[in-house]
Subunit: 142 residues, 4 copies
């Protein structure tokens, strides 16, 4: 991982109002991998006290996209993904780790593991995802 790259990626994340709303932080970015974390706050839960599935899917979407960004740059667009929930997510924080499976010229395919982390730092795998990110062609002109 290159510190300059991590700094640039964090700047993009900071420009996403929704990522700010849910408190997402970029922990690692580089070499085909990206890790996103967010605190499991009360206002991110569903009715049974678990992290809402929609937050897990947000964290999958964004980690997939940033992982692709490590190889394809900032002009990427997630075109779709699949998520399977494995266990209710509880604990201190959610860690979403995405990595590149195949990087093509116009399309990057990534996978993502989502962990609930408790106070002692123990990880529990709570969801897995797989998705496709489009690499936008360079715009003509300027």
């Amino acid at each position: 991982m290159n510190d300059a790259d991590l700094g640039f990626a964090r700047k993009i994340l900071a420009e996403q109002p929704f990522s700010n709303l849910v408190g997402a932080r970029l922990i690692a970015f580089g070499g085909g991998e990206a890790t996103l974390e967010l605190d499991i706050r009360q206002d991110l839960l569903q009715q049974n006290g678990y992290l809402h599935g929609g937050i897990l899917s947000y964290a999958a979407d964004n980690a997939l996209t940033f992982a692709a960004g490590t190889v394809a740059g900032a002009s990427v667009l997630t075109t779709g993904f699949t998520i399977d929930y494995l266990r209710p997510a509880t604990g201190t924080l959610l860690r979403s780790h995405g990595w590149v499976v195949r990087s093509g010229r116009s399309r990057v395919v990534c996978r993502c593991d989502l962990f609930a982390v408790d106070e002692e730092g123990a990880e529990t795998l709570c969801a897995v995802a797989q998705g496709t990110i489009s690499v936008l062609p360079p715009s003509n002109g300027s």
Copy 2:
């Protein structure tokens, strides 16, 4: 649609802190269909001014689950889904319409269309989803 059912479903949605955070409203619930709406607010966007993909995936997840709930009751759990993004979502509100494709004893499969709606009420399809919802077995005893 039965008004009592819609009221009950809205009560469950109101018990989801994350749904409150993003301002989701249940517009329709019954007969194998559920419609969720939320305002396209500034704090739900990504860095280019479009609705964040994570909000679309939240709205897909929840509309799929509520659609399943119309046939299977409150003891349901979304086990996974796929979403394909079609167009950037902009406008006034996001409308997520889920419906049941097949309702089995232990599993309900649903589809979902997500529309961006502009000030005049015109809908633009911006994402499609498909997912599986597990029906929890009745607990033994109490």
Copy 3:
């Protein structure tokens, strides 16, 4: 549907050795939709006497691709899809109906319904799919 188009699409299907092996026929092709059929033969089953899931996924893959071909021409490539199985498929034939949900410049998103059809012609929905088809850019030069 245009008869010339259907004829052209059938020619492509006939050039797929695997489609010949499983006996696939193109029944309709045009206007954003394609329908594929194949007889539920003994050699396409799994161990319990139902049509093998792999045949259903083949029929989904191909109907999604041909549906995209109705709007995007022959230079298309399925990049991925999701299938959910709903019921065991038995009966006389499998009918796989794909249709375009969104046709973009470089990417077409389609859905597909798969029906088992009995001797009287009654359809039973046995699987649903959703997938993405890439439109290949015109090659430069020759």
Copy 4:
């Protein structure tokens, strides 16, 4: 891997007429993993000389199911999966390797990597999949 288990799993594969038709072989089975292989024969291709996507999806479906079978026994049923194609598959044989990500009481989630293998035995990753397998409850009585 236990030889008895591999033998039992091969017996089930041999009872699938469609697996016989395409020439699938079970190479490994046990400890949460299963590997399936098949020769890249002429009659399994599509119109451009590559292995048909439908064969890749068959091999994903079956490797996912057998991987789940290593932890959940023979009473399993694939309920759905997602496949992303990465590269055209050519060469000598297709190797489909599935493994368990999470084994629950009623549901097993697996991933799968599909490799095209050339004459020298070199593997090229050509597709990735993720799917859910239901564990059937023991039948009552008879």
